[in-house]
């Protein structure tokens, strides 16, 4: 296989994926896949080195992560029962701590995202996460692993396949700051203040909107954490602070240069009564979650963990315009694709 020294990369911002055959046969896709392969290998090496055991995630179940931000779960008919395709493996991750104290998945997820997200360049209806959970872990532990993982895979990929970065015209200097020191930490409240100072509207009670997140990310030259999201912006499994009610013990890790969120993580609620109450606060019917609540009632260890969006990570690494360019079979929200 011969590669041109540089690939003429068409800006993706205003266009959608080409027909699948053309996409699969493109040098851009090939380069992205070779970088992805290095990232997956390095992620496994790093996490196993930290004592994590890889498990394989379920694909369907009676319930899945109720998620947030308006996405729709996908139903399947399972022997006459309505089952869900996993929108994330969070419920199973917690349960799996009964097997090992530290586990991870490379998990496929499906979310019928609102059609408006097809323009964010950061959403796919079908995507993958590197899903990590650790028993007895704190948020700080979880942030340390997320930072270590990101740093490790970036360093590895740059060393292993420098020619692919060159091919895509991605300057390794873009990662110099990332590799040179610890990531910054910003509370949600500080992030909101910063957005207000930039003249950008942002509700203090809600998730940071896509545009705000991108704006914030453009101000930074290395990845940074945002912590302490308000209750009402995340699922029932993110633990609420005992010292600061209304705040969650969670975090996002955002890439710089406008790439935005790569990771969402948190300490988890593991107390049965609190989980039931939190389910109601997020509008969920606890009866749906019987298997999960039964497990929680029996008791699982307190834990913390995160999910790192694989395609978003690869997009950040490759510097490509849109996340669909780094998925071999991209499904942009609202569009019918193979």
């Amino acid at each position: 296989m011969e590669h041109a020294t540089t690939v003429a990369i068409e800006p993706a911002a205003d266009r959608r994926p080409p027909p699948l055959a053309e996409h699969l046969d493109s040098d851009t896709t090939r380069a992205a896949m070779l970088i992805q392969q290095e990232v997956l290998g390095a992620a496994r090496t790093y996490l196993r080195g930290e004592g994590f055991v890889e498990m394989l995630p379920p694909v369907i179940g009676p319930v899945t992560d109720p998620g947030a931000r308006g996405s729709k779960q996908v139903d399947v008919d399972y022997y006459g029962h309505k089952y869900k395709v996993m929108s994330s493996g969070i419920l199973y991750k917690q349960a799996s701590l009964l097997t090992f104290d530290k586990i991870f998945y490379v998990a496929p997820n499906v979310r019928a995202e609102p059609v408006e997200t097809c323009n964010t360049q950061r959403h796919l209806a079908e995507f993958h996460q590197i899903d990590v959970e650790m028993a007895h872990g704190t948020r700080a532990d979880s942030m340390r692993i997320a930072e270590g993982l990101l740093t490790y895979v970036v360093r590895h990929a740059l060393t292993a396949v420098p020619e692919q970065f060159e091919l895509l015209g991605r300057d390794p200097l873009a990662f110099a700051w990332l590799l040179s020191g610890p990531f910054g930490v910003l509370s949600h409240r500080e992030a909101v203040d910063e957005l207000h100072l930039l003249g950008h509207p942002q509700s203090p009670d809600a998730e940071i909107a896509w545009t705000g997140e991108e704006l914030l990310s453009r101000q930074k030259d290395r990845p940074f954490f945002v912590t302490d999201y308000p209750k009402g912006s995340r699922g029932f499994y993110d633990r609420e602070s005992t010292t600061e009610p209304g705040r969650l013990r969670n975090f996002d890790l955002l890439a710089p240069e406008g790439y935005g969120e790569l990771v969402s993580g948190s300490e988890r609620e593991s107390d049965y009564a609190t989980i039931v109450t939190r389910m109601r606060e997020t509008g969920e019917n606890p009866a749906k979650y019987r298997w999960y609540l039964d497990v929680m009632r029996q008791g699982v260890p307190r834990s913390a963990g995160f999910g790192m969006g694989l395609e978003r990570l690869i997009r950040f690494l490759t510097g490509l315009d849109a996340v669909w360019q780094v998925n071999a079979y991209p499904k942009v929200p609202g569009e019918m694709a193979p």
Binding site: G70, K72, E113, E116, S203, A206, T277, G283, G334
Partner: protein, 423 residues
């Protein structure tokens, strides 16, 4: 369809004859004299019906309007356009959800949607529509949620009105909101800022209870793990009771925030049953960012309810409005509203708009194509007439001084004043 205990004949007459029904028969003009009780001696159905609108003699706001117009104002100068729960509305009126009546999910409801669109008023689509009738069905389906949305948009102007989709605890399983929000078919509503979601906390007809439906035995067996099933009618069907869902102030606050977080382009409405803590619940909802709170008086409801609940459970609308006092957000009132007087009383007591439930159903049952439009036109005519009689020219100017409750001392303030001046 029957609507017992409801002025069904009058509503049907309005659905057929429109604004003419605001007056005695025109043939009697010049031949008969009329006075109070000229049309029967029916006792008022509740405290709000018993109350009277009390125009003052001195009308400073009419003077303001006179100066503004350079001529004496008339009832046609009353401007009824207003903002209802974040939507621009031609009238201080909206179409309530039709509940689980069979007619509420039939083609008649599609005709009602078309008329609501043409009238430029918001429309609420009931929680049960998706679980019962389905969402998408066939592309050219004539019932169901999408058919109603399409009918509404076909007739609506480019900016007036809005469509509000209800969801309650028991149909959270159907993920109605996520379904709508992620559907390309909802994009015209989102793009024009005319999609809303209503969290149904409860309803007036059966405060504290969830949905009640009668099912055949086989269907009931299928859902028995999710609902309480009572075999009451020896073979005629079984009663299926859903849960109303558990709320505390923190649960309500967080559910509203979660809705705002997940559906940032949608307006958020909350529907409350007439609970004794209705003022506290409404304040909690507004504080959490709800665009509207609907209070459904115990007189309300299109739903089928146990006899025990029809006359004995929940606060009447007048008492709900009294407890809420001056609302800190957009308050919507429903419960036995069908004509202009009750509407003006509710508006004067703090509501921004009134919802038509049973009345709208009865009207479209009488004339599917034009019944709702005629009913609402007659109501709007009366609201203009009454508002101007009170010396006011917008619904927002109405205030508690405009209403007098018999037997209540100091209920109506003799001094004319603007609601905004109340502190």
């Amino acid at each position: 369809m029957r609507a017992a205990g409801f002025p069904e004949e009058q509503v049907r007459a309005r659905a057929l004859n429109g604004t003419a029904e605001a007056f005695p028969p025109v043939e009697s003009y010049g031949h008969e004299v009329f006075g109070a009780r000229a049309f029967g001696d029916e006792r008022p159905a509740d405290e709000l019906d018993a109350a009277r609108l009390v125009p003052p003699v001195f009308m400073p706001l009419r003077l303001e309007k006179l100066i503004d117009l350079g001529r004496e104002p008339l009832q046609s100068d009353v401007d009824l356009a207003t903002t209802v729960g974040g939507f621009s509305s031609a009238l201080p009126v909206f179409l309530s959800a039709f509940g689980s009546t069979r007619i509420g999910s039939s083609e008649v409801s599609v005709a009602a949607s078309r008329q609501a669109g043409a009238l430029g008023i918001p429309m609420v689509i009931g929680e049960n529509v998706v679980p019962v009738t389905g969402y998408r069905q066939e592309p050219d389906a004539t019932t169901g949620m999408l058919a109603r949305v399409r009918a509404y948009l076909d007739e609506a102007g480019p900016s007036l009105g809005g469509v509000v989709v209800q969801q309650s605890t028991e149909d959270a399983d159907a993920e109605v909101w996520n379904l709508v929000y992620s559907d390309p078919a909802a994009e015209p509503l989102l793009a024009s800022g005319r999609l809303g979601f209503e969290l149904k906390v409860g309803q007036g007809a059966k405060p504290g209870l969830g949905g009640l439906t009668v099912l055949d035995r086989a269907t009931a067996a299928r859902v028995s793990d999710q609902f309480a099933i009572d075999d009451l009618w020896s073979g005629a069907g079984v009663l299926r009771s859903g849960s109303p869902g558990t709320f505390t102030d923190e649960i309500l606050r967080q559910q509203i925030r979660f809705m705002r977080n997940n559906f940032p382009r949608a307006r958020i409405w909350v529907k409350l049953h007439p609970g004794r803590d209705v003022a506290q619940a409404a304040a909690c909802a507004w504080e959490a960012g709800a665009d509207a709170v609907t209070v459904d008086g115990a007189e309300g409801g299109t739903g089928w309810a146990p006899r025990a609940f029809l006359d004995h459970v929940g606060l009447p609308l007048a008492e709900c409005l009294r407890r809420i006092g001056t609302p800190s957000g957009c308050l919507l009132a429903t419960g036995r509203v069908w004509e202009g007087v009750r509407a003006v009383k509710a508006l004067a007591l703090g509501a921004t708009a009134v919802g038509l439930g049973r009345a709208a159903l009865t009207a479209v049952d009488a004339d599917p194509e034009h019944g709702l439009r005629r009913l609402v036109e007659c109501l709007a005519f009366e609201v203009r007439l009454l508002t101007s009689a009170l010396g006011k020219y917008t619904p927002a100017a109405l205030g508690s001084e405009d209403v007098w409750f018999p037997g209540r001392t100091g209920a109506a303030d003799p001094a004319p004043r603007h609601r905004e001046s109340l502190t």
